[in-house]
């Protein structure tokens, strides 16, 4: 009996009759043994990637806050500039009003000096120099024109700052995409038996898509407004198509 058992154990492998499917099973075991370490690598990679997501969302949030703060500061400066230009504009108006009075007084003095220059030879020359200096100063027209141009430029800067609102909505859209990726990674990692990922702490992450327009565009092309105007006009005419 013992010799029979010993004989069976000692039989070379090739002499054991192969059972159907053994090759398939061997291949399967081989594949699984190769895949398992790969899955571990994938899991670690997912964990590392997912770990950076909350920070990315927070950084986007910080960008929005920083640009809003900077934009408000710029608007503050522009408002002060506008107030100063308003004050200067009032001063120019007063100057313009006195210009007419000054000119008529100067003309009167012109004739008085012409009469007196006979007995005062240098008087006319000095008066001409004085008169010329007024001409060199320029009129208030030029001042008003320059102020109007500066005021228009300040307004242009203010209008361009709309970019902050528009880009903040685009960023909110990106944050939402990042959050959806985080949630999917979370599910995959839970399938690996891992703990849930830490939620993103960014304020923008929890916002509903109704609170922003992720497709907002900053473009100065007039055709967007023209397109909207056309739709409004057609609607008012009863064409709701």
């Amino acid at each position: 009996m013992k010799s029979a058992v010993r004989r069976k154990i000692e039989l070379p492998r090739e002499e054991v009759a192969p059972w159907p499917g053994r090759d398939v099973l061997d291949n399967f075991v081989k594949v699984v043994s190769e895949v398992v370490p790969l899955l571990d690598t994938v899991k670690v990679s997912l964990q590392e990637s997912a770990g950076t997501i909350p920070k990315a969302s927070m950084q986007l949030d910080n960008v929005t806050r920083a640009t809003e703060n900077a934009t408000v500061e710029i608007l503050d400066v522009l408002e002060r500039m506008t107030a100063r230009m308003d004050a200067m504009g009032s001063a120019i108006t007063r100057l313009r009003e006195s210009e007419g009075e000054r000119e008529s007084a100067l003309k009167h003095i012109d004739s008085l000096i012409a009469e007196a220059s006979g007995s005062q030879p240098g008087l006319l020359e000095h008066w001409k120099v004085f008169r010329t200096s007024f001409a060199r100063q320029g009129s208030t027209d030029e001042l008003e024109s320059q102020f109007a141009a500066v005021r228009a430029d300040a307004m242009s800067i203010a209008m361009a700052l709309q970019v902050q609102d528009i880009t903040s909505q685009q960023i909110a859209g990106v944050s939402q995409v990042i959050e959806s990726v985080r949630l999917r990674l979370d599910k995959v990692l839970q399938a690996f038996g891992e703990e849930r990922l830490a939620p993103a702490a960014a304020q923008t992450v929890g916002r509903s898509s109704e609170h922003f327009n992720g497709d907002a565009e900053y473009t100065r092309e007039p055709n967007r407004q023209e397109h909207a105007d056309e739709i409004v006009e057609r609607f008012k005419r009863g064409d709701h198509a």
């Binding site: 916002r207 407004q225 909207a228 008012k236």
Partner: protein
């Protein structure tokens, strides 16, 4: 309507400042502001207004829902409403018009564009179409 009192509604502080400054630059000095639809409702009830300028996408209550509330209220149903929004698709414009906004501006807006729309609305109120 001489010297209408505007209520400017937008969740972006930047946009509210820009719209308000633009209104003042075109001669409209009387302005109050709100940060979302709910805040706007409260301001309307407490301070009143003659003209509503509102964004669309806002937390708490959207500009569209605010418009719906205004149009269904006894006190403010006929208030002129101008929507200023980043949403420029045809469907969006039609949806806002169906809610009975008076006109629609796509951001970024221009000062002349804002003035034109406000003047059109005020004129249509004073001389309503038969």
């Amino acid at each position: 309507m001489a010297n209408p009192k505007f209520l400017v509604v937008d969740d972006s502080l930047t946009m509210r400042r820009i719209v308000i400054n633009t209104l003042k630059s075109i001669g409209f000095e009387s302005v109050v502001e709100a940060a979302d639809g709910k805040d706007a409702m409260a301001k309307l009830m407490s301070e009143g207004a003659d003209f509503l300028i509102t964004d669309w996408n806002m937390p708490e209550m959207s500009g569209l829902d605010l418009t719906k509330w205004v149009r269904s209220s006894d006190r403010f149903a006929d208030m002129p409403i101008l929507m200023i929004t980043t949403r420029g698709n045809k469907d969006d414009v039609i949806e806002a018009m169906k809610m009975r906004v008076n006109n629609y501006i796509v951001k970024p807006f221009t000062a002349p564009g804002l003035k034109e729309k406000i003047d059109q609305i005020l004129k249509s109120i004073e001389s309503p179409m038969p």
